[in-house]
Amino acid sequence: MEREGRKQKNKQLALGIVIFITTSLLLLIGATTISQNQKDDKVTVLHFGMFAGSYWDVPTGNCYQVIDDAIQRFEESHSNVKIEYVSGILKDDYSEWLAEQVLLGKEPDVFMIPAGEFDMLASVGVLKDLDDFIKKDSSFHEDAYYSAAYNYGSIRQRQYALPYETVPTLMFVNKTLLEKEGIAMPDTNWNWQDFLDICRQVTKDTNGDGVTDQFGYYDYGWKNAVISNGIRLFDDNGENTFFGDEKVEATVRFVKELTDVNQGFTVTSKEFDEGKVAFRPLDFSEYKTYKPYPWRIKKYSNFEWDCVTMPAGPSGKNQSEVSTLLIGVGSRTNYEELAWEFIKTLCYEEETQKQILKDSQGLPVIREVVQSSEFQELLQMDAPGTSKINMSVIDQVMEEAVATPNFRQYSSVMSEADREISRILNGEVSMDNGLLKLQREMNSLLKQ
């Protein structure tokens, strides 16, 4: 009996030791976690993630100016809040940097979203759903934004980011070339037929060596044409494509006609830079960069140039795509209210948006700022001489602009489609068959 009692005691002792060790380990873990989380509570530090340089790969002056000024205004109105950002991250490294911070659990509270990663960041749960803030905040009106820019920040009917600045696509026109050919500058309501006519007119051999050396357009493709013909290629959730639509067929026919004008020559940027091409789609950021001094002598210096809207298709308008830089709030932020205030300072406050006009290459996303007289003056200052571009044109382009779809497979689907359509354009595949097949293939690709 005594032995059994002793064994019983030994057993209890052993388990007692287990309990003691586990409890002390638990306490240790708790203590270290608490000590790690203890921070200096006097000043709240909000982290901001941004990259250096332009989102649209054009040269910039001080890329931090707009942000720094916005931070200063924010810090003045919010005492005890400090905003910190890591400077010097290049745009190409930014995506990797952000992913690293996410893996380490240290992503900034507010950050710029790298191109093409919006859907991934939102789906993975890195981005905070902003709908609650938008509903609660009575001073925030989504109508203030151009819808193309604003909607780019939403996925599956939820707003995960706000637009900071945007860039529409315009049509670059070589004025010198048109003048030489006696062709008037197209107006902002021109259409495909006008475009095609001018291209046919200017495509010729100027020096008589038997080789065509002057061309109508460069870099205008079916993607530009699809948008200006009022076609939606994908539904809202990126689950279905509409390549089989007859409007797409009409578009591809037009592009084929346009391609045939070049008589088999492949126009390159070299010809364009030499002033031998009349039209080329151009981002507004390039316009803003190369139009004013000093950059204007750096590029396209041997001819006069200007921009107009894109030519409209038979069933569309003078529409073009916009590319938008988004800013989002990290879902793990500890200061969501402050983060919301700060993202509003950047993306909604007129002060910041006006400064984008002056110091950045993009276009503000707030309607009122673009429509203001200051903006018009600024454009005039940038472009001495007669310019077809005025406030109402930019406003019109922005109002009618189409947001680039932002679902995950967009870029891969589009490059696949590009391949197929060039086969159609080359005559390898018949038009209607090819497009229907493309629609089927794209749909199955999207369902993966």
Binding site: R3, E4, K7, N10, K11, Q12, A14, L15, G16, V18, I19, T22, T23, L25, L26, I29, G30, T33, Q36, S95, E96, L98, A99, E100, V102, L103, L104, G105, E117, M120, S123, V124, G125, V126, R332
Partner: protein, 434 residues
């Protein structure tokens, strides 16, 4: 006792092994995340898993804390020898919560913790119903914590993805160590189960032995009870014999002797004979008194102290309390007062009938009714018990009949629907006294 020792050692070994496994898995995950960042693969890692992993410190803290809490609960469950099943059940539920949390923190890349819970559940379970619950719980738990089944839907990152950040030889080592841990864990679990089963088997054997001993003791007790009853009967018979011998025998002897004397005396002296006869009469009267006294000793105690109605009520009250049954006693005869022998028969009939209802019929409702019609007094006892299709007249019924017949009464009974007894007694109302 030795087995108990082995079981506890196995349990502790399982705790330690799983601790090592948890450390290995979380360590690999965290190390892999840092490796990804160092090798500038963060962006492609996120692209490929399409899931945001937890913060590295969050993974380790949650997994380890939840695991340690699980061990804590498990040891408390082992040590706490409470009879309350709810407490063990509650602790197991808490264990399951910690197990799931730790497993989720490890991105479902280690499912061995379930074995700890299963071991605890099996140790605590008893009864068939619980075996079903246990089975369902085990299947459910495995479903929850197995990556291949549900991990994909919960946005968990598979183990292989974490491993892919290391070079092949290191990957092989990690894989090997993890599978060794898993196997040893399984082996320990199986041993543990075997030990538990053996212990349970031994316990059952012990119980069987005890059971047979108890049965034997019971038999002995029954035999003893029968012997004791017989003994009491003999004693009672002896007492009766003595009583008859002492009283009636004495009186009768005296009477016989007296009468013999009278026979010889009657012709010589009728006067003396008369006197003698008077004496004999006195002796006979004395005898009657003695007999009455003897018989009164056999009367139920209750009747001695109170009247019949109260005595019956008291008896019923006692039966109600002891057997926990519902008894309705309806008496339509007031006052319920008769000659002693009649009262005794009525009392005995009620007593015997209710006793039968409880003993043989297992009734829980009995109604007793006493009524009179002309000179007949009727006692009806009815119950809702088993009854019996063909009534076999046992000792009780026979006895009742005999008692009733002494008073020229009748007994009727029926066992079709519950049990029904009707006893009728012709009462000598004329001799009723006030």
């Amino acid at each position: 006792m030795n087995k108990e020792n082995v079981i506890i050692k196995l349990q502790i070994a399982m705790y330690l092994l799983n601790f090592a496994a948890v450390c290995l898995v979380t360590g690999t995950m965290i190390f892999s995340i840092f490796e990804t960042v160092d090798s500038m693969n963060a962006s492609s890692f996120l692209e490929s898993v399409y899931v945001r992993p937890w913060k590295p410190e969050m993974i380790s803290v949650t997994a380890l804390a939840c695991y340690l809490l699980l061990v804590l609960c498990s040891s408390i469950n082992y040590l706490w020898k409470t009879k309350k099943r709810e407490i063990h059940f509650l602790i197991i539920v808490v264990e399951i919560v910690f197990c799931i949390s730790a497993t989720v923190a490890m991105n479902m890349n280690y499912d061995g913790l379930v074995l700890l819970i299963v071991a605890d559940m099996i140790r605590e379970q008893k009864g068939n119903m619980q075996k079903i619950v246990l089975g369902v719980a085990i299947i459910g738990l495995y479903t929850i914590v197995d990556y291949n089944l549900l991990g994909n839907y919960f946005g968990m990152i598979p183990w292989d993805t974490f491993l892919s950040n290391f070079n092949t030889s290191f990957q092989a080592i990690l894989k090997g160590v993890k599978s060794i841990f898993t196997s040893i864990n399984l082996v320990l679990f199986i041993l543990y189960m075997a030990m538990l089963l053996q212990r349970e088997h031994n316990e059952r054997e012990q119980i069987q032995i005890l059971n047979s001993q108890l049965k034997f003791a019971n038999l002995k007790l029954k035999a003893y009870a029968i012997a004791a009853e017989k003994n009491a009967e003999t004693k009672e018979r002896n007492r009766l014999a003595r009583e008859i011998h002492d009283t009636l025998g004495h009186a009768l002897t005296g009477i016989v002797a007296g009468i013999d004397a009278c026979i010889t005396m009657i012709d010589i002296s009728p006067e003396a004979t008369k006197k003698q006869l008077e004496k004999i009469g006195n002796v006979a009267r004395q005898g009657i008194t003695d007999v009455r006294r003897s018989v009164s000793k056999l009367r139920p105690d209750a009747l001695e102290k109170m009247d019949l109605e109260k005595a019956i009520s008291k008896m019923m009250e006692e039966l109600k309390n002891t057997a926990n049954i519902d008894i309705v006693f309806k008496n339509q005869v007031h006052p319920l007062k008769f000659l002693e022998d009649e009262e005794e028969v009525i009392y005995r009939v009620v007593q015997e009938a209710t006793t039968n209802s409880v003993r043989h019929g297992h009734a829980d409702k009995i109604s007793i009714e006493i009524s009179k019609k002309e000179e007949w007094l009727t006692i009806i006892v009815k119950d809702n018990g088993l009854g019996c299709k063909e009534v076999e007249e046992g000792f009780g019924l026979k006895h009742m009949k005999e008692r009733l017949e002494l008073l020229n009464g009748r007994l009727e009974y029926d066992g079709q629907d519950g049990f029904f007894i009707k006893a009728s007694i012709p009462i000598r109302w004329g001799e009723e006294f006030n």
